[in-house]
């Protein structure tokens, strides 16, 4: 089956910065680097079996969001096994607005994926919905719940936009 996939390097060149941003938003800057790397490895492995070449950026960002959650789960398991407390938020220091990113990482998984894919990744609600296997309306709800939580955490009132 010929689906006309572009050379993978073209995806890397066009999207590696966005994948890195999304990974950092999901997992924090230090772990974000590993998440981005793992997301690219997964994407490269799966690439030849894609059945269409439509919206590859959205496909990459979706893989990145899923990879970040997997990494978080396996780290939680490791921390539990080692009876260590979860990693403190100190690794957020290189990011501006530390409390914001700390708040993002504390969100429930689906809210975090939705808000990060929508605002950091710039995906439309239809694309976020596809990534999370839900409806655009549900995506809208997840994003607005996430924003409400973040505003509460940051002590800012509701805003326009």
């Amino acid at each position: 089956m010929f689906v006309g996939l572009p050379p993978f390097q073209q995806l890397v060149d066009a999207h590696w910065r966005d994948v890195a941003r999304l990974a950092a938003a999901m997992a924090g800057p230090r772990e974000g680097d590993d998440v981005a790397q793992e997301a690219w490895v997964r994407a490269l492995r799966a690439y030849p079996s894609l059945t269409h070449a439509g919206n590859l950026r959205s496909w990459l960002l979706t893989i990145t969001a899923h990879t970040a959650l997997d990494a978080q789960r396996s780290r939680a398991r490791r921390d539990l096994a080692a009876a260590r407390p979860p990693e403190p938020a100190a690794d957020l220091a290189p990011l501006r607005d530390e409390r914001l990113w700390e708040g993002v990482r504390a969100l429930p998984a689906r809210q975090r994926q939705a808000v990060v894919l929508h605002y950091v990744g710039g995906l439309a609600h239809t694309e976020v919905a596809r990534a999370l296997e839900t409806t655009p309306a549900a995506s809208r709800r997840l994003v607005s719940d996430a924003l409400a939580t973040l505003r509460k955490v940051l002590g800012t009132g509701p805003e326009e936009g």
């Binding site: 010929f2 006309g4 996939l5 572009p6 050379p7 993978f8 390097q9 073209q10 890397v12 590696w16 910065r17 994948v19 890195a20 941003r21 950092a24 938003a25 800057p29 974000g32 680097d33 981005a36 790397q37 690219w40 490895v41 490269l44 492995r45 690439y47 030849p48 290189p94 990011l95 607005d97 914001l100 993002v104 808000v115 990060v116 605002y119 950091v120 710039g122 924003l147 973040l150 505003r151 940051l154 800012t156 805003e159 936009g161």
Partner: protein, 186 residues
């Protein structure tokens, strides 16, 4: 703080991924004769040495071999070294494995004839057309050579018109002239 726009603004210091698991590797090489895109398979077989643009060559690699095409210059170090030695007159033949897998079956027959044209000699489009049993196809032979996926390595620059004029060359006629000069062909 506007939460939504803070999320949009996120910027991080990051670096491109280091990837393993590609099927085809390439480099854009500034050779003394011009810019070339060289590509090889995982096994190290050279499949492209082209004057065409990076986008065009990598799209061809993706369509014909595998979409897992990665820019990995070190995989092509030996091929680069040999090309540079060749175009500066320090080498007369190549000993990297090469295969014209990007060529059509007809073009492969045409390119196969180039093996009979040794360093320092030339042939014509028409002679090749006759040799492959298609005496009236010299124009098609010209097209096939023009799409040579392994320029320099498969010496399509040694093919001239019957009247002795240069004909065409993917790398430009100045490059063709230079390669022929190198071989001492008038």
């Amino acid at each position: 703080m506007d939460v939504a726009s803070a999320l949009r603004r996120l910027d991080v210091a990051a670096r491109p991924p280091r990837l393993e698991g590609g099927d085809v590797f390439y480099v854009v090489h500034d050779a003394p004769i011009g810019t070339l895109v060289l590509a090889a398979t995982r096994e190290g077989t050279l499949v492209a040495c082209s004057y065409d643009a990076e986008e065009a060559v990598t799209a061809r690699l993706a369509a014909h071999l595998s979409p897992r095409v990665l820019r990995e210059p070190q995989r092509l170090d030996e091929a680069r070294r040999q090309i540079d030695a060749y175009v500066t007159g320090r080498r007369r033949a190549f000993d990297v494995p090469a295969s014209p897998v990007l060529a059509t079956p007809f073009a492969r027959r045409v390119l196969g004839e180039l093996a009979r044209v040794p360093y320092g000699s030339t042939t014509t489009y028409q002679a090749i057309a006759r040799a492959i049993g298609a005496p009236r196809a010299s124009r098609a032979v010209g097209h096939a050579l023009g799409a040579n996926p392994l320029c320099i390595v498969l010496p399509c620059h040694r093919v001239l018109r019957t009247d002795g004029s240069l004909g065409g060359y993917a790398g430009g006629l100045a490059a063709k002239r230079r390669l022929l000069d190198l071989e001492g062909v008038a």
